[in-house]
Structure formats: C-alpha cells, structure tokens
Amino acid sequence: MTALEQTRNELGEDATDDDVVAIPLRRPWRWISAALVLLLASAFLYSVLTNPNIDFAAIGEFLFDQRILEGVALTLLITLISMLVSTVLAIVIAAMRLSSNPVLSTVAWFYVWVFRGTPLLVQIVLWGYLGLLYEKLALGIPFTAVVFWQVDTNQLITAFVAGLLALTLNQAAYSSEIVRAGMLSVDEGQREAAYSLGMSPLYTFRRVLLPQAMRVIIPPMGNETISMLKNTSLLSVIAVLEIYTQATVISSQNLKQVELLIVASLWYLLMTSVLSIPQYYLERRYGRGTSRALPPTPLQRMRRAFANRRPGVAPAPETKAVSVI
C-alpha cells in the first residue's frame, strides 16, 4: 500500500478518486544539520567554559563595575546624539542633493564624496587634532578683522565633542544616501497631487514625501544605528571614555584583557538587541496604509497565543493529511 492510498483510506469513505491529498515534503537534512550545529556549538562552549585561562569570576565582577556602567551610558549617549543629529543633517543633504539648484546639489554631492571617501578612523583623529590646526575658533566676517566671538579650540572641542562631530558628520553622509534613495522611491504623482492642493515644496516634502520615504529609510537606518553603536569604540583613539575605552583602561591595570573584552562584548550585544525594538515599532508606524492589515505587535501576538490556549476552546483535531480543494 502506498502512502497516498493509506492516507486516503484514513480520510474515510468520502475520499473519492477526485480528492487530492497533499503531504508536506519531508526534510531530513534539517534534522541532520541541526544535530551537527548542536554538536559543534556544545564543543565550543565546553572548550570556553573549561578554559583555565579565562577568569569567569572577573567577568562577573566587572560586568557591573561603576566604570563599565559609565562607559555604557556614554556609548548610548553618543549613539543617540550622533544618530539624531546626523539624521536631521542627512535629510537636509538629501533634499539639497535632489534640489534643482545646481549649487546646492553640488555641495551635497561634494560633502558625501569627502565624508564617505575617507576612513572614519582618520576623520576621528583629525577632529581630535583640530586644536593643532586652528588654535582659536572665531565667529566673524571672513577676510576682515571683524570678530564677534572667539574661543580656544581645545576648550570648545573636547575629546567628547570631537568624537561626536566625527561620528555625526560621517554618518550624515551615509544616511543622506539612504534618505535620497527613499525619496526617489516615492511616486512623482504624489508631489503633483500635493502641489495641486496648494502645498508649498517644503510642506510637501515634510508631510507627503518624507513620511512615505520613511518606509524605505527605516530598515537600513536600523542597521546604521547598530553600526554607529559599535563604531563608538573607535573613539578610544582620542580617549573618549565610552565602554571599550573603559574596558581597556581597566584591563591595562589588572591585565585581564580577554575578560574585559568579553564584558564589553556582552554589553554591546545587549545594547544592539534592545535597539531592534524601536525599529520594529517605527517600521509599523510608517508602514501604515501599505498593507491591508498591520502585523500584530509582539504583545498582541502573545495575547492571541494565550487566548488560543484557554481551556474550553477545543483545539482543532490533528490531521495527518490536508485535502486540497
């Protein structure tokens, strides 16, 4: 008896020759590969956990060390400020790049060319050395002696400010290209409809084009935020006390380099995981109107799952085969 005949019999007398019984494809490789991965993972975990060169007590001890926590806070602060300011800047640069004014679009193109074309690390160090380049920064009329306000460079541009500037200006170049792609994804008819209602170009950009571009912009911006969070570690070269710098400072004293790198990594992992939550909700918000029904939030999904498990509601009987109608 073939499998097909067997299931047909189980469906009862109603199953005529016209009924087609669909049996899901069996996928033995899933099981085999899963077993292999499990084996390799546990071997690796075992080698780490039993490694006499790793001081697990130290990891536990420093995970919540005051300096590490301060480093975490600074890392988050720098990420937050850089992402916010660079996004605003990116929107301006993208709008300039797309504008019909050749001066604006060339300036925008040049900006992106410079900041995308040089390594971030070099930019960070350059901003850190700004005091060597210009002793004083002044606000006045160019090419005249008129000065309204001036300040010692090293006093204004501390390591923290230099780091913020470097990350923000670099990120703005990348983000502006993302924003530009988003803007180009919006149908030209949208602009015309907005104009025909009497909306100004700026109003149209803000209320009609940008919200639609957001749908395309947000997923890559989530990636950019995660990159930014990790790139803050580069600020260690100008001694900004974010988490990586704090970890190296501590390990230079107690020589537990690997342990402190693990501490820092655990924090980076936690922070990047938490960052994907706002991304999910932003995607939902700007996805409005694009699909016929919005996907449920995790909370709604959980409620639904529990609702299904409530006693009293009989679960659907298990079937071995599904008939295709």
């Binding site: 149908d187 409809a193 104009y195 209602l197 009497g198 109107g289």
Partner: protein
Amino acid sequence: MSIILPVEHSTRTSPIPLVEIRRVRKSFGAHQVLRDVSLAVPAGTVTVLLGPSGSGKSTLLRCINHLETIDGGRIIVDGELIGYRQSGHNAHEMTPRQIARQRRGIGMVFQRFNLFPHMTALENIIEAPIGIAGRPRTQAKTRAKQLLDRVGLADFAAHYPAQLSGGQQQRVAIARALAMDPKLMLFDEPTSALDPELVGDVLDVMRELANDGMTMIVVTHEIGFARGVADQVVFMDGGVVVESGRPEDVLDGPQRQRTRNFLESVR
C-alpha cells in the same frame, strides 16, 4: 453690471470667462507640445477636452495650475494671471509660495488618483484645509465627512487608499480637491484607470458637481459624458485646437476630417 462693463461685453450672450487661455505655447526640448492654444471657459460651465493620445491635453491642464511652465501666451483664472506677474512688457515667474497660493483655488483630479497612501481617506481630505488653509480641525473634519457623504463614501473615512477600489479612491480624490473650495476643477482622464463597472460611480459624482454649478475642464474619452454634461467640447490634435463648440455640433456634425477620424476611433 452692464453699466460698468464696456458695451461689447454686455452685448455678449456668454458671461465673462473664468478661465481664459490665450495663445499658449509650450515645448519639451525641440518638441512643441502646445502651439498657440486659445480657449475660454465661462464660469459655471463644463468644458470637455477630446483628442488622441499625445495631443497635449494633459500638458494644457497642467499649465492651468502651473504644474508646467509655459513658454508664451497667458493663462488667466478668475482675473489672475497664472504663474507670472506682469510688469510692463515682461512677465516674471512667481515664487513657489505665490504659485502654491494660486493653486489653492484650482482643484485637480488625476488619472492615477494620487491619494496619499500613508493617510486615511479622511486624513487625505483634511490635510490641505488644516495645514495650508489654516482651518480649525473640527471644522475641516465636519466638512470632510460631508464631502465623503456627497461622493457616496460616508463609511470609508478611516480606510487607507490601499483598502479602497479604484473608483472609491478616485471619489476620495475628488472630495480632497473639493475640500479646498476651488473655483475651478481640472480632471485629467479621471476614469481611464478604472475597471469598466466602476466608471459610472465616478461620472455620477462629476455630473452632480456640474449640476451644482462647478466650473470644470475635463479630459475624457467618455463621449456619453461629454454629450450629456458638457457645455463646450474642444477637440485637440498635435498641440492645436482643431475644433470647438457645443457638444451636439462637435460630436454629431464635426467640420474637420481629423475630428471625424477621432470620433470614429473612440466610438
């Protein structure tokens, strides 16, 4: 009124035109799309623009609300020169802000609806009245609901465009344009992108609008609509007005061979 106006105006049967298009020229590169087009649309009347694809109908409509600039001639709506300010012999193009202001008085409905997909039907309608005309939110909402009711979509205020059929979307688009209280409505093939069974609802709304006295310029291939609703039918081909007049004259007894050929093809 006849006391104030010069004699030649008062003796005419038709009132002063709301829209006056005089010798308008427009080229895209070397391709001249409008060649000295002239047209007058009296207030409260419906003008239907007919013509083969590529004859410049859409371009002419888009010039009327300055979505396209013109190379020569002039367009006057309600006594105002569109898109330019006359000073002596020159016409200076207006700033985007001034142009936006003029466009508020001219509604436009597009072939592909162009509703804002991230807003519900109601939000589509109230966006410009609140954000541009500065009307109070509650007042704008009340008016939007009246308009939705008028186009037969009272129950669809909270629907996003993706949740509406083509015909429903186009009726929301009409309501959206009407919410700015325009004195002129432009329709660019409003039913061409619709399934045949949805065309009727949109045409009904337009017919009602015409009955209420709205001044309308409509590009359409719906000859039945032109016959029943239009006060004036204009046939364009190759960027010129070939023939124009009352619908029964142009549609049933066209003088020009080109008009006859075209009418033959759409019948």
